[in-house]
Amino acid sequence: MARFITQEWVDAYVEEINASQEYLAAAAEWEGDIAFLIQAEPDKGVPADVWAWLDLQHGRCKDGRIIDAERAAGAAYGITAPYSRWKDVLEDELDPIKGMMQGKLKVRGDLPTIVRQVRAATELVRLTGLVKTEFPDEV
């Protein structure tokens, strides 16, 4: 069980991504690293903003880290949302593409490119469900 969102959780997630043939096929054309900002919600057990970073290239994740804001700014894409929104995504209660168009997930970078990768995004979300996750507001 890995706490969302820690390096341990990111490591487990990267493992699931790289084991997925479905993601390999869906994201074959994807190039670009993505920084995910999980915005603080002190009342939900997330006292400070956390940046997670995935280097996604052609259906594989070459690296995954918890990083600082300065490094995140250099990523090709950034996706920002409060912790509770990410939790909704992980629990399949918020479709990420719909969330982006509704402004619940804020995207930095070329939004049309991300939206066109709907199969890859869907697969990335499905894979989070395979990570045994402990949410900070449920501890």
Binding site: Q39, P82, G103
Partner: protein, 346 residues
């Protein structure tokens, strides 16, 4: 006369300048009894907009008419008046529509080149052009301390709340609880809003908002987007007034407004830029209205009525009353966010 003069970035000083005189038939000279420091004065204090050493600061003023030009008809020596923070001509197309802040000849007191080099109100005397339209004669029911808010802050709040047009059952949010944001809460309630959510990180300002009847959110303790979501079945606020004038506050307004909601941008902007996801704004069907400067002349009588009947009470906002000679301390306190409103007495 004595006046508060811009000295250098982050510094003002009180010094001697020549008394203003009648330069045009429509002018009046006001002997200032009360001026104030406003959040937007800090733009000039920090040289975010150009001012020059020796420029007289300030755009809020109350006083008594000392002299009028031959062309002034409705204002008379001895009248107690409040000065509109921006001066309009009263006759151009925009003024005739009531959009006086867009006047062809519009100028702003104490705003250097940006404001058309009109000397400010933080002085013993101020020259007011087109005095018939740029001065409001005050009723006895509104004292100087309250009246100072009519020239800018209270009227701006009434204007923003009117644009927000919160309907019964709607949730309004105010981002930033400086003087304008704080009075926006009262103005929203006065206009019929049923629920107002106030967002800031300053406990004293949140306490004032709570006393005014708002639901408060300390943005460092609760994520504002999720706080509004929790209050509105995950939708967000129906209407948001952004009362700061900073890209972060604008982003916060975008975060907390619902799809199809309205954002009233009342905070002042100068050279700031922000990313705009056209597709997302379009898909969210956002209605974003920038107020620009408040057309004070079209709204100050309505604001005066709300001050007179107590619907809007600015008195809790006054944190400092200083002699004009201590203006530097007042600016510094405002800059450190230790002051909510600083009044200056010449």
């Amino acid at each position: 006369m004595r006046a508060v003069l811009f000295k250098s970035e982050g510094a003002v000083q009180v010094g001697e300048v020549p008394d203003p005189t009648i330069l045009a038939p429509g002018d009046a000279i006001v002997r200032v009894t009360r001026s104030a420091i406003c959040g937007s004065d800090l733009h000039f204090f920090h040289l975010k907009a150009p001012v020059e050493p020796g420029d007289v600061m300030g755009h809020e003023g109350v006083g008594v008419i000392e002299a009028v030009g031959d062309g002034v008809t409705s204002i008379h020596p001895g009248d107690r008046v409040v000065v509109s923070f921006h001066a309009c001509c009263g006759t151009c197309w925009f003024c005739r529509q009531g959009e006086t802040a867009l006047c062809e000849k519009g100028r702003i007191f104490g705003a250097g080149l940006f404001g058309g080099r009109l000397a400010g109100t933080q002085a013993e005397l101020v020259r007011v052009p087109y005095a018939d339209v740029n001065l409001l004669v005050l009723p006895e029911t509104i004292d100087d301390d309250r009246a100072i808010f009519l020239g800018d802050v209270a009227t701006t709040a009434v204007y923003a709340a009117s644009l927000a047009a919160a309907r019964p059952g709607e949730t309004a949010a105010v981002v930033g609880l400086g003087p304008v944001g704080s009075l926006c809460i009262q103005a929203l309630f006065a206009a019929g809003a049923e629920r107002v959510v106030a967002l800031d990180r300053d406990p004293a300002r949140l306490a004032l908002a709570s006393a005014a009847g708002a639901v408060t959110v300390h943005v460092d303790e609760r994520n504002p987007e999720m706080a509004l979501a929790a209050l509105t079945e995950d939708r967000g606020a129906d209407v948001v007034i952004e009362a700061v004038g900073h890209p972060e506050a604008f982003a916060s307004a975008l975060d907390v407004v619902r799809r199809g909601g309205r954002i009233i941008v009342a905070g002042m902007y100068a050279g700031e830029v922000t990313d705009l996801q056209l597709g997302v704004w379009w898909a969210r069907a956002l209605d974003v209205r920038f107020t620009g400067l408040c057309p004070v002349h079209s709204w100050w009588e309505r604001a005066a009525a709300l001050l007179a009947d107590g619907s809007i009470d600015p008195m809790p906002l006054i944190s400092h009353r200083l002699p004009m000679e201590e203006a530097q301390a007042g600016y510094a306190a405002f800059d450190r966010r230790e002051a909510t409103k600083v009044l200056l007495a010449p």
